[in-house]
């Protein structure tokens, strides 16, 4: 029964994805930058940490626009509320957010990108490496979430 695969329909998913896509496309067409988000979490450390890794050119040259882009993402969420839309409350335990967050931060930086960098920009660039990365984190994501659901935690 294909209907049960989409209990909430698909309209808002497709429209939301299209708006996201327009944002990433606008960044590329105006500035030429692939709009991955995760590098922001490394490049911002270059303001505080003096080690050679964080002082590398790739971070120093991009940290300003990445900060502006991140600010835009936060404001975009705020605009959604201002537009009169509501968001259902979320109840993820703090330990999951903290543990998951550290793994996401470390993993995305070691893996050279996240769901936006590999998932949108990399796949749109037809990068075979990004396809492999997407399959990898989608696979381990599905396995982990399913395991937690099965364990009931």
């Amino acid at each position: 029964m294909p209907v049960t695969l989409f209990p909430h329909g698909i309209a808002h998913y497709a429209l939301g994805g299209a708006i996201m896509g327009l944002g990433v496309a606008l960044l590329y067409v105006t500035t030429g930058r692939p709009g991955g988000v995760s590098t922001f979490f490394s490049s911002s450390w270059s303001w505080l940490v003096r080690s050679p890794f964080f002082r590398q050119g790739a971070f120093l040259e991009s940290r300003y626009w990445r900060l502006v882009y991140a600010l835009g993402l936060v404001l975009g969420g705020g605009l959604f509320l201002l537009a009169g839309q509501s968001v259902e409350a979320s109840h993820i335990p703090a330990w999951k957010l903290a543990l998951g967050g550290v793994l996401i931060g470390f993993g995305a930086r070691l893996g050279g990108g996240c769901t936006s960098g590999h998932g949108i920009c990399g796949m749109a660039s037809l990068s075979s490496g990004s396809f492999v990365m997407v399959v990898t984190f989608l696979g381990t994501g599905i396995a982990t979430a399913s395991l937690f659901k099965w364990l009931g935690v």
């Binding site: 998913y13 502006v68 979320s90 967050g101 769901t115 949108i120 037809l126 990898t136 599905i142």
Partner: protein
């Protein structure tokens, strides 16, 4: 000088609006709600395939055609390539990222947009992501003698 300044002002504005659209779309698609992402990862609601499909579909066209048709970007810079080389370390990173994603249903973009939409709990996830990125940088930048 004046020209360079106005270009950089447009650059900042374009970057801000791009992020804003991205964040708004993430909210519209419900991806800013971790429960929604977890329902996808447990295969209870595959709607997120349409989020990815629409976002990738639009950008597939733009990324493939814009450099060929325009030559340079609308603000005059050149189109950048994503620097990425697939190797074992990157794969390990993908595995760790997926595990973290599966634990909490958050990834970097939705963490930022979800905070903007009022979910203050996501500050915990954002702190975790910053800590993870710092740990990666300290580990990756350790002295060459220990690198392997």
């Amino acid at each position: 000088m004046k020209m360079a300044q106005s270009v950089s002002r447009f650059d900042t504005l374009a970057t801000l609006v791009s992020g804003l659209l991205f964040g708004f779309g993430l909210a519209w698609s419900t991806m800013i709600r971790p429960e929604s992402v977890l329902a996808f990862l447990t295969l209870d609601d595959l709607g997120l395939l349409f989020v990815l499909g629409a976002a990738v579909g639009i950008n597939l066209v733009v990324y493939q055609l814009a450099p060929r048709l325009l030559g340079r970007t609308l603000l005059g810079s050149s189109f950048e390539q994503r620097p990425f080389a697939l190797d074992r370390k990157a794969l390990l990173g993908g595995v760790l990222f997926g595990i973290g994603w599966g634990i909490c249903g958050v990834c970097p973009g939705p963490a930022l947009a979800g905070l903007g939409a009022g979910n203050a709990d996501l500050l915990i996830a954002l702190a975790g992501i910053f800590a993870g990125a710092l740990a990666h940088g300290l580990w990756a930048g350790r002295p060459a003698s220990a690198a392997g």
